[in-house]
Amino acid sequence: MTNPIKRASLRRRVSWIVWAVNIALFATLLVFVLR
C-alpha cells in the first residue's frame, strides 16, 4: 500500500498549500493576539 501522503493526487497537491497557508495565518494571528 502506497503511503497516501506520497500520492500525487489532488489532495496531496492541495494539502501542502493548505498547511503552508494555515501555519502562516495562525502565526500572524498569534502575533496579533499576543502583541
Binding site: 500520492r7 500525487a8 493526487s9 489532488l10 489532495r11 498549500i17
Partner: protein, 434 residues
C-alpha cells in the same frame, strides 16, 4: 504564475488587514477579545479572497491548476466559516454599549450599534447557508446555472454585510485607514464578479464562434466543433479546457466547462468531446450547425508543451479521453519526436470513440465488459495493466498524463508513485473537486 508566488500574494492579501489593524488600532485588549477581532478580520479577508479564487482568473488557475484552485477555494471557505462563527463568542463578558467618553479607543467596551450588529448577524446566518449549499450542490440537484447565480449573489451580499459590520461594528475597522483598506479589498472582490459576469461576456460578444458540426461518436458521446466568426481564434495548448456557451447570450450563465479535444496545430477549429450527463449535455445532439457559441478560456495546466521527458504516457478513462486526444493530435500533427502511448479504458466496446483515428499503434484499449471476441486488454485500468504496458525505464523517465474517473486516477497515481515515477512527472486534472 508560479505557485509559490501565488501563495505569497494570497498570504499577503489575507494578512494585510490584520497587520495594519495591529499597527493603527490602539492599545491591545485582553487576549480573548483580540483573538475574537483577529478571527473576524481574517475571516473577512479570506472571504474577500474567495472571489479571486473562483477559478475564472487564468493567472491563478493556469498557474496551479483549476482543480487545485477550486479545492483551495473550498477549504479556505470552510476555514473562514469556522473563524467567522467562533469570533463573536470570544467577546463574552466584554462590557457593551455606545461610545464612552473615558474609552476613546474602545479598549474596554464593545459596540452595540444595532445596524452594525444586524449586518454581522445577517452574514453569520448567510455564510453557513452559502457553504452548505455549495457542499451539497450535487445532491441538491440544482441546475448548474441556478446554483452559480445563487452562489454569486449570496457571496456578494455577504461581502457587503461584512463590510458594514466591520467598518461600523469593529474596533479596528472603524479606524480611517482600515475603512479604506476594507473598502478597497471589497471593491476588488466585487470588481472580480463584474469582470466575470460583464467584462468577459463583453469580450466574448466581440469574438463569437459558430457551430460547424455535431457528430455522434458513440451512443452517448458527441463531438461538437466550432469555428471563429471573423476573428483569429483561440490561443491554447493541447489538453486545456474552456467554458462553452452554445446558443445563448454571452451574458447568460448557461455555460459549461469542456476539455478541448482538437489540437492547436490543426487550425482554428476547436472541438469538444461531450458525454451525455447533465442538463446541457443531454441536448448536444439537437444543436444545429450555424448556432452561435461563445468560449471563455483556455484554462488548466494539463499540457506537455515544452516538457523535457523523452516519452508521454496518456491514460484515459471514458470521456476523459478528450484532453489527451488533444495532446495526441498535437503530437501527431507536429511530428513530435517524443514517444507516446495511450491507454484508453471503457466499459463496453460501443463506448470506444475515435477508434479509427486512434488506430492500434501505441494505443492500448481496455474494456471492463469485453465482448467474446475481444482480443485487447480487459478489466480495469490498474497497477497490473500499467506494468504490462510500461517498462521500468519508462516509469522513471516519461511524463504521465491522466484524465478519467476519480477512482481510476487514484489507482494509477498510487501505482506510478510505487513504481518510482517522480510526482512532478504526473499530470492530472480533476473535474470534480471533492
Amino acid at each position: 504564475m508560479k505557485p509559490f508566488f501565488l501563495i505569497v500574494v494570497y498570504l499577503g492579501a489575507v494578512t494585510l488587514p490584520l497587520i495594519l489593524s495591529a499597527a493603527v488600532g490602539g492599545p491591545p485588549r485582553e487576549w480573548h477579545q483580540e483573538l475574537a477581532s483577529g478571527l473576524g478580520i481574517l475571516a473577512f479577508s479570506m472571504i474577500l479572497m474567495e472571489f479571486i479564487l473562483s477559478g475564472r482568473f487564468k493567472a491563478i488557475s493556469n498557474g496551479v491548476g483549476m482543480d487545485v484552485t477550486m479545492r483551495f477555494h473550498q477549504i479556505m471557505a470552510r476555514m473562514a466559516l469556522v473563524f467567522a462563527l467562533v469570533h463573536p463568542f470570544l467577546y463574552q463578558e466584554t462590557p457593551s454599549g455606545g461610545p464612552r467618553p473615558w474609552d476613546p479607543t474602545r479598549e474596554l467596551t464593545l459596540t452595540t450599534d444595532f445596524s452594525a450588529i444586524l449586518s454581522g448577524i445577517g452574514a453569520f446566518l448567510l455564510l453557513p447557508s452559502l457553504v452548505i449549499l455549495a457542499i451539497g450542490r450535487t445532491q441538491l440537484d440544482y441546475k448548474y446555472e441556478t446554483w452559480r447565480l445563487m452562489h454569486g449573489v449570496g457571496a456578494l451580499l455577504i461581502a457587503l454585510l461584512l463590510l458594514n459590520h466591520t467598518i461600523y461594528g469593529g474596533r479596528y475597522g472603524s479606524e480611517p485607514v482600515m475603512t479604506w483598506v476594507w473598502l478597497a479589498m471589497t471593491g476588488v472582490a466585487v470588481g472580480s464578479l463584474l469582470m466575470v459576469y460583464l467584462w468577459v461576456p463583453l469580450q466574448q460578444k466581440a469574438r463569437a464562434w459558430r457551430v460547424v458540426s455535431v457528430n455522434q461518436l458513440t451512443p452517448k458521446q458527441w463531438e461538437l466543433s466550432v469555428e471563429p466568426e471573423g476573428h483569429g481564434g483561440l490561443d491554447y495548448k493541447a489538453g486545456q479546457f474552456l467554458w462553452l456557451n452554445v446558443g445563448h447570450s454571452p451574458f447568460s450563465l448557461k455555460e459549461n466547462p469542456f476539455s478541448i479535444c482538437s489540437a492547436p496545430a490543426e487550425g482554428p477549429r476547436v472541438s469538444f468531446m461531450i458525454k451525455e450527463l447533465g442538463d446541457f449535455t443531454r441536448t448536444v445532439g439537437q444543436i444545429e450547425s450555424g448556432t452561435l457559441a461563445y468560449l471563455d478560456g483556455p484554462y488548466g495546466n494539463l499540457s506537455v508543451d515544452g516538457r523535457a521527458e523523452p516519452g508521454v504516457a496518456l491514460i484515459a478513462g471514458g470521456v476523459g479521453l478528450a484532453p489527451l486526444l488533444g495532446i495526441l493530435r498535437q503530437m501527431r500533427a507536429t511530428n513530435d519526436p517524443r514517444k507516446v502511448r495511450l491507454i484508453y479504458g471503457n466499459r463496453v466496446i460501443d463506448q470506444i470513440a475515435y477508434r479509427e483515428e486512434l488506430g492500434t499503434e501505441d494505443v492500448v484499449y481496455v474494456l471492463s465488459e469485453p465482448p467474446d471476441n475481444w482480443e485487447g486488454e480487459f478489466g480495469f485500468i490498474d497497477g497490473a495493466l500499467i506494468d504490462r504496458v510500461f517498462s521500468e525505464e519508462e516509469f522513471s523517465e516519461w511524463v504521465f498524463v491522466m484524465c478519467g474517473p476519480a477512482p481510476m486516477m487514484d489507482v494509477v497515481e498510487d501505482h506510478l508513485i510505487k513504481r518510482g515515477t517522480p510526482s512532478h512527472h504526473i499530470l492530472s486534472e480533476r473535474f470534480s473537486y471533492d
